[in-house]
């Protein structure tokens, strides 16, 4: 074996790359200078928030029907499915003279421990009456463990379908919208594509939400509040930066 073989093609390419990289080293100066004038990518977070995605998993609410009856029937399916074991439900027979829910029973005790909750939304999936859904509000914190356990009193929406704004939660306008709408995390019937089908059930105060795009042409991003990361950064990008094109729209199979 000879001591020094000549460089093969790959190695030669590497070599040329290195030569070019030396210049690229100094391009860093130009790049940083150009960035001085660009729009900022970040926001001043606590003051200004980005719009949240429509499927943001936040803190739960317990919904009501239009007539003010609670949707929860105390079936404990949510507690059973919860992987974090954070939901505690006890059902009770409705009092005949002033029923709380339309069915036979209602959720007498309903507690969620937010020190345990992982916001997987399996409880929302499991609920047969769409009683429990999640808002988009995730900015809440506590100073003691007891405060982390939300009871029925905190979780229930008011008569207009609005969630309670608790003092240690950071609610902004618009974050209470689309809270009681319900959708499956997995698509109906296991179909991977769901074109133009309304998957959200109607919600108190807001009606039925327009269909979400997903893989579909029928997307209505304005209405659903869906923002692609690329669109969020739109102002920051130059024309030359946009090397990644949107994938071609796919029709139904």
């Amino acid at each position: 074996m000879s001591d020094h073989e000549p460089l093969d093609d790959d190695q030669q390419v590497q070599h040329d790359d290195v030569e070019r990289k030396e210049l690229a080293f100094f391009k860093g100066f130009a790049l940083t200078l150009r960035h001085l004038g660009r729009r900022r990518v970040t926001r001043s977070y606590p003051a200004v928030k980005r719009p949240k995605q429509p499927r943001q998993h936040g803190r739960h609410v317990l919904n009501r029907y239009e007539d003010g009856m609670e949707k929860c029937i105390g079936c404990e399916l949510c507690a059973g499915v919860c992987p974090a074991d954070c939901i505690y439900v006890r059902g009770l027979d409705n009092p005949p003279d002033h029923p709380v829910s339309p069915g036979e029973r209602y959720g007498y005790v309903y507690e969620i421990n937010y020190l345990r909750c992982i916001h997987c939304d399996l409880c929302v999936e499991a609920c047969p009456t769409e009683a429990i859904t999640e808002t988009k509000m995730f900015e809440f914190s506590f100073t003691n463990r007891a405060d982390a356990i939300y009871t029925r009193r905190e979780l229930l929406v008011d008569d207009d379908g609005q969630p309670k704004r608790l003092p240690w939660e950071d609610w902004r306008d618009g974050e209470d919208e689309h809270t009681s709408g319900w959708m499956r995390a997995t698509s109906p019937s296991g179909a991977a594509e769901f074109e133009g089908v309304v998957q959200w059930s109607g919600e108190l105060g807001y009606g039925v939400r327009p269909p979400e795009g997903g893989q579909s042409d029928a997307r209505d991003d304005e209405a659903t509040g869906t923002l692609a990361v690329r669109d969020v950064l739109e102002n920051h990008l130059y024309a030359g930066d946009r090397t990644v094109r949107r994938p071609p729209r796919r029709g139904p199979r």
Partner: protein
């Protein structure tokens, strides 16, 4: 006072009495306060400029544009618990931050901030002190701050700080040589060590600035060497957050930790000021003749020039990736030191006469060629003739060669 002091400083010409001492005291206090405030502004400026380069917003919560952020950080650090690790050498551990901080403070003393000022019949320079050894003080102080770093690493009684300190001291000592040689070119041409003297020779206009008078090379070498000397990126292997979890100050907390950072940023400002003094005419610059305000314009020029260099440091940090240790050493020993030494000899030759200058130029060129050949051969012996050790780009070692080395065959 000694006669040497009276020669260099007009303040002591009429003898030393309480008014003179008062002026000196005021100068010291003002310089100290100005330096501390400017460190605060520098940290804020750096964080803001870096975040601009990275398209972030940066500090914004305290004061207008977040300008008081450093103050808030300082107050926080001040009130934190000061821990001393169990295995630390207590005295050395406590001493080290001051060995870094005090040289940074002293170095600033020799920088002329403005011109000659007359207050109540006393003439004095806007400069804390103008010792006859002048610029030597800079080299001495940067020598002492090496002790601060290495004692901090050793006194912490922990492995990583020690490794970092050894690495850092090797770096600082290596670059001190290039620093000294490029400073020597300035001193050679100026004929004086006093900073006021050096500045005075550059007042006739931009073409008399040392950066142009000496050719740009000593300035570039000085800029790179001083960046390495104060451990600023891209030479911040001392801190090396990614490998050495903060480097020599890993074990420090609270106020002592803050002192290191104070010293680092103070050094950044001081070295920018030194660079302005040595190469860019210090406070010299065009100004209109306005009565009672003539003292102000040199200060404005000085601050302006210094700010530009402070921005350069921030720019380096934003644009350049950190050097690997071997790249760092190779840049220092194989390039900066030979270049600055060759340039010093060249300038010395031309100072004697044109003929001598041409002869030295020829000798320097021959030596440079020999040296380059020697470095190339050395690299070839280390890693084979295909490998080129490049301090700037990646190290292009062919894969086959790596295999040979790791398999134990000598390449």
């Amino acid at each position: 006072m000694t006669p040497t002091l009276t020669v260099s400083d007009p303040l002591f010409v009429a003898g030393v009495h309480w008014a003179v001492l008062l002026i000196v005291a005021i100068k010291v206090v003002v310089a100290f306060a100005v330096l501390l405030v400017s460190v605060m502004l520098m940290i804020w400026f750096e964080r803001k400029a870096i975040s601009d380069m990275q398209s972030r917003i940066g500090p914004q919560r305290w004061g207008p544009f977040g300008i008081l952020q450093t103050l808030a950080d300082g107050i926080k650090l001040f009130f934190k618990e000061d821990l001393v690790p169990r295995d630390a050498h207590r005295f050395v551990y406590k001493l080290a931050p001051y060995l870094v901080l005090i040289p940074a403070l002293i170095t600033f003393c020799i920088v002329p901030i403005g011109g000659l000022v007359t207050v109540a019949g006393h003439h004095f320079y806007l400069q804390v002190a103008d010792p006859p050894i002048g610029i030597l003080l800079l080299l001495a102080m940067s020598g002492i701050s090496v002790y601060g770093v290495i004692l901090a690493g050793w006194g912490s009684g922990s492995k990583y700080p020690l490794m970092s300190a050894v690495r850092a001291s090797a770096q600082m000592i290596s670059y001190e040589a290039a620093l000294g040689l490029s400073t020597a070119t300035v001193v050679l041409v100026a004929g004086t060590l006093s900073t006021t003297g050096i500045v005075d020779q550059q007042t006739q206009g931009m073409w008399h600035w040392n950066v142009i008078r000496l050719g740009v090379v000593p300035f570039v070498v000085f800029l790179i060497a001083i960046t390495a000397e104060v451990n600023r990126p891209p030479f911040d292997t001392v801190e090396a957050e990614s490998e050495l979890v903060g480097g020599f100050h890993t074990e420090y907390a609270s106020l002592h930790f803050a002192l290191f950072f104070l010293a680092e940023f103070m050094n950044t400002i001081t070295m920018s000021a030194i660079m302005v003094t040595l190469f860019f005419g210090g406070p010299a610059g065009w100004h209109p003749n306005v009565a009672h305000l003539n003292w102000l314009f040199p200060i404005v020029w000085f601050v302006l020039k210094t700010t530009i260099f402070c921005f350069c440091y921030v720019w380096f940090r934003g644009a350049l990736p950190r050097f690997r240790y071997d790249q760092l050493m190779s840049l220092g020993w194989k390039q900066l030191i030979p270049i600055s030494f060759g340039w010093l000899v060249l300038i010395a030759g031309f100072r004697v006469g044109v003929a001598w200058g041409l002869v030295t130029a020829a000798i320097v060129l021959v030596c440079a060629a020999l040296l380059a050949r020697a470095f190339k051969l050395g690299d070839a012996r280390e890693l084979g003739k295909d490998a080129i050790l490049d301090p700037v780009a990646e190290r292009p070692v062919p894969p086959g060669l790596i295999r040979k080395i790791t398999d134990g065959e000598s390449p």
